[in-house]
Subunit: 345 residues, 2 copies
């Protein structure tokens, strides 16, 4: 456990690129004494920004744990995955993943194009045996504290077999990360009754039941995601992406409404100040930014995706998540448990 942890960071990804990634990286070094970071991107841009960030920091020893790997190109946020795959050479995202594939880093973090990250991750790191496609998984707040939801947008068309694979991966990941022996798995549907839903979820439900190796709770509805009904929510990437983003949207709407209500008079502003600890508690529990960092599951390596719009603090959470996954050896424990699971499929 005293070994150092090395993470490759795509310094060019996301809406703000190195302006956010570099300060967040320096902050992360200060938080984790065993961490070493490789910033991948255009050296001319990164070098002065890194020097600035390090200069502002009181701990002058941090500079020994961060280096720059030059990559001249950047994958745009609108580029198709197939184009990104063709034009990958010398892009910051690809170079960061290659560091993991070559064993130079134990994980990589990017706030770039999700489709490209998935395609490059799959191409470079390869899938775990028995898994067809990577799935994006993230922790979401719930009555029980936290639950895990996948897929969140990597796959917009999924077969029932893919949903079964997601259920297995999600269960194993939740077990590894949260230490739950038999995580409760639910399949997202428009009703809890067996007759409800489209053909694909009905078939997936039968497959998961027949597989038998999971603590399967059957169908759950959208309203159950944030309760304590299950630990793992399984769905295709189209539905998962929209469910998660619409939930974040309603949370933002509520926050704005509260803010507006509390600023309507001086007396209300005073009340807002008095209740601010309570509102901050709520924020801390719900805020998706605090949970920034989604994992690409199913790859033979750790790839963490940050929100494209992440600020300095949020990007730091994504780095923290990569650190945690390295410490817990998530792909290794998934692979070990997959061997027995997939043998049963």
């Amino acid at each position: 456990m005293s070994d150092s942890i090395c993470i490759a960071v795509d310094a060019m990804g996301g809406d703000f690129g190195p302006r956010v990634v570099i300060p967040a990286s320096v902050d992360a070094l200060a938080r984790h004494s065993r961490l070493t970071l490789q910033l991948v991107g255009q050296q001319d841009i990164l070098t002065p920004l890194l020097q600035q960030s390090l200069a502002k920091h009181s701990d002058k020893a941090l500079s020994s744990r961060i280096s720059i790997i030059n990559a001249e190109k950047v994958i745009g946020c609108d580029e198709r995955p197939s184009y990104a795959l063709r034009k990958r050479r010398d892009t910051s995202m690809y170079r960061a993943i290659v560091q993991v594939a070559e064993g130079q880093a134990q994980a990589c973090v990017s706030a770039g194009n999700t489709g490209a990250l998935m395609a490059l991750g799959r191409f470079t790191l390869k899938m775990l045996p028995g898994i067809d496609r990577p799935a994006i998984i993230t922790a979401i707040p719930s009555e029980g504290g936290v639950s895990y939801m996948l897929d969140l947008g990597a796959n917009v068309d999924c077969s029932a077999e893919h949903l079964l694979q997601f259920a297995i991966m999600g269960s194993v990941m939740t077990s590894a990360v949260e230490g739950i022996a038999e995580p409760r798995v639910g399949l997202l549907n428009v009703g809890a009754e067996e007759i409800k839903g489209n053909e694909q979820v009905k078939l997936a439900s039968r497959l998961i039941r027949e597989h038998g190796g999971l603590n399967y709770q059957g169908f759950i509805e959208g309203g159950d995601i944030f309760t304590d009904k299950v630990d793992v929510v399984v769905c295709d990437g189209f539905v998962g992406n929209i469910a998660l983003k619409s939930s974040e949207g309603v949370a933002r709407l509520m926050a704005r409404q509260l803010q507006r209500s509390f600023s309507r008079s001086p007396w209300r502003k005073l009340m807002a100040w008095m209740v601010s600890p309570i509102l901050n508690e709520l924020q801390a529990h719900i805020d998706p930014a605090r949970r920034n960092g989604a994992s690409l599951l199913g790859l033979q390596g750790i790839v963490v995706k940050s929100h494209g719009s992440a600020n300095r603090e949020c990007f730091g959470y994504a780095i923290d998540q990569a650190v945690a996954e390295v410490i817990m050896d998530v792909p290794g424990s998934i692979n070990r448990q997959l061997e027995s699971h997939i043998a049963d499929v």
Copy 2:
């Protein structure tokens, strides 16, 4: 406008059946002086409950505006639509819809099985010309006040052509109800870029654009539903149902968290009391119960679906919505505008 409004109410539907429907109906009579109600269900059960409810009311004249239509059977909440259709004779839901088809009532309201209501509505009232399937639409809170979202679960597998029809119906309904000349229409997807999404939404987007008669804003993401980006959110019923229910779920989670935080100490309880007007304002804006009442759009008649779990107050909102749709002649104005729209398809 001085004519009476007559609504048939499926008194047996929903989790609580007549125990909720009858008091809610009597309340509605007191609110709307021009309203006449027909309670459809098992006479033996309804008669004493209605007498009790009327006896509690100070206005003794209400009894002249409410009647009972006997129907011995009830459609269960788990029954398949095809089974409900075969076994429809003498069920409360079917008899209520028949009242509309025969011109004895101008609308019907039910808290029963959604799939059955859609199948029976379609079978009995028929579709508007040019529309293949009914869609469920409801008003949702947003930054701009309110927007409309469809489909919310009537159709779990939709083609691109169905999504185009939903876009037209949603636009016309929003225009009629909200008085917006050219409602902004958005198609729900996993990203705003043209390359994102599954084949079905990509094709639907092309069809809506080619149709040309709508104020089409392109793809929107889950997070945009509750902003002021569009007035009409179009999606298939699987995605719409899950997006709406997960949003309601996160709103409930936030409300419970606040409640828990505010009850942690006597001082916090005092603060809760002080800020209660503000929390009530939020509740009034967000609370899905206040917006209970979804319409089955595309039928040649008004059918309003209440949440199955609606309480007395909530079921009343569904009746209010039916009253409003009768006053605004929603199907008529949809049909008139559809004629020109569909002619262009």
